[in-house]
Amino acid sequence: MAELAGLQSWLQEAILAGGAGAEEAERRVVSRGALGAAGRVGIYAGGYRSRLIECLRDEYPALRRFAGDTAFDLFTRGYVAARRSRSRTLWDYGEGFAGYLEASAPPAAREPGSLLALPAQLARLERARAEVLRARGIEREDRPPVTADALLVPGARLAVPDSVRLLALDFDLAPLIRASDRGDLLTAPEARPSRVAIARTRYRVQVHELNVAQHAFLAALADCAAADRAAARAADSLDRSRGSVIAELALWLPVAAQQGLVATAASP
């Protein structure tokens, strides 16, 4: 076992490092024909990098289109060098990409409205979309419909499905994502605070722009199933009157249900 572990450890380190030196490879690997030992190790090293980069390209198509291949390749090469995979599935690999972009952005990215902050924000949005694609949705659940008066009935229980993600962003990214999906030319988004929900209905994922009350309500509802209490909490967090917030949300609730943002709470 020690011999096996040592050999595996050596080959893995060579793959992660991008290859092995000719001499050390020759000691362990057979050379044959046109391919020497180091060249054979290099096949695996090259495959490792391209597999991870391909995974990021698949998961972040809008960022790739917006940034262009050269910049995107710089992002992904840096990420692959910084982050090794510890998951059994490639699906998990991209989960730290937005955080990496945020951490590696130049200090000027922290200035309000700086486009340097955009890659990380766009990556957060695209990761959320990917998560929603795989999350447990409510497509095949037989829940009672959300009624318009759910906010007015004390104790009525609503839930934010697992297939919803809420984000607060510094750019207006929803139009950019939609343009990317259509294959349209991408232009720089407006730098302004925006709140979005990514949700799924009939297995289709969409990005919905929310106002502050809607966003605060869904965030509160994720913690507390009682719809009236979640609405009250949202109003308090915005320092607004509960009555006006509840009235505003009541009008929006049927739309939110149609968009898959809320559902009646599952039976306990």
């Binding site: 076992m1 011999e3 096996l4 572990a5 050999l7 595996q8 450890s9 080959l11 893995q12 793959i15 992660l16 000691r27 362990r28 690997v29 057979v30 044959r32 024909g33 046109a34 391919l35 030992a37 060249g39 054979r40 190790v41 096949i43 695996y44 495959g47 490792y48 597999r51 991870l52 090794r84 995979s85 510890r86 998951s87 059994r88 599935t89 490639l90 699906w91 690999y93 694609l133 795989r134 999350a135 447990r136 949705g137 497509e139 095949r140 697992d162 297939s163 799924r200 297995y203």
Partner: protein, 291 residues
């Protein structure tokens, strides 16, 4: 139909379930699919509650399905990943696959994953290690594991036996099934300079429950197992030989990149029956040995 092997049925000719065909399979009647069964990549469906699972459940309602994994890492010196085995068992309980398969390889050590099917040193010690782990996985899953020969691009100086001998001894000692990837045999034979017919002749036919077919890429100095093209003529000839030796077992066409439309995929699969019935692809010059 042949006798069941290890209690596993003969499923006929199938294809891998892949994303580009989801809409077709959801919108068309199963009677027109033209395939007998499907193979799914286990990792694509463990923890996936989205459209992929809806498609899998629809397909499973109509056809047998086998689970094919890429992350069991049966040859790793790391401990078996219990959480991964839990995921496999949960998916198996949900879709009731005909069998569960993975590769004779390792994917990483020290808790890392290279997401590749890395070759094992073919030594007496690693054989004992692999056999022990297959037995433990079989006990955990409560069913025979079906183990596939990988394609490889390097061999270790410490190897003590050829791959076919290793696999034959492994299958007998672990009492597991074998998935004979005929394309992998051919790819490795070119990359390492061995006789693919001798390889197939040495594999215990009674343990082969499935065969894989796929198309590789010629990289000049070697062939890569890319699953992105039609099956090569040389592979069809090996397939005919292997099917004759086994008395016919389930066949699965893999196509994972540059995936063709459904009709073209099924057309390529259809060649398998023709080859079994004696059809020969046009003779092609044998690829220059890269090994």
């Amino acid at each position: 139909m042949t006798e069941p092997r290890l209690g596993l049925p003969h499923l006929g000719d199938g294809v891998g379930l892949r994303h580009p065909h989801y809409e077709h399979l959801m919108r068309s009647p199963a009677s027109g699919w033209g395939v007998d069964w499907f193979e799914v990549i286990s990792e694509n469906h463990i923890g996936n509650e989205g459209y992929g699972m809806a498609v899998l459940e629809r397909v499973r309602a109509e056809r047998p399905v086998a689970m094919h994994g890429v992350s069991l890492s049966i040859g790793s010196s790391d401990p078996l990943d219990e959480a991964y085995l839990d995921g496999l068992a949960a998916l198996a309980a949900r879709i009731e696959p005909a069998w569960i398969s993975d590769h004779l390889c390792w994917t990483g050590v020290a808790g890392l994953n290279t997401h590749d099917l890395l070759p094992l040193p073919l030594t007496e010690a690693s054989l004992v290690h692999v056999v022990d782990r297959i037995r433990r996985v079989q006990d955990r899953l409560g069913r025979p594991l079906v183990v596939e020969n990988p394609s490889s691009y390097l061999q270790f100086r410490s190897d003590q036996m050829p791959e076919w001998e290793y696999i034959a001894r492994m299958a007998e000692a672990a009492d597991c099934g074998l998935l004979l990837d005929v394309n992998n045999v051919w790819v490795s034979s070119v990359n390492h300079g061995f006789d693919p017919v001798a390889y197939i002749d040495a594999i215990p036919a009674g343990r082969i429950v499935q065969m894989h077919l796929a198309g590789p890429t010629d990289c000049g100095t070697h062939f890569m197992d890319t699953h992105d093209s039609p099956v090569r003529d040389e592979v069809w000839e090996l397939y005919r030989l292997a099917q004759r030796r086994t008395g016919r077992v389930s066949t699965l066409l893999e196509w994972d990149a540059s995936i063709p439309p459904w009709e073209a995929l099924v057309g390529e699969l259809g060649k398998a029956a023709a080859v079994r019935d004696g059809w020969s692809p046009a003779p092609a010059p044998r690829a220059a040995a890269h090994g």
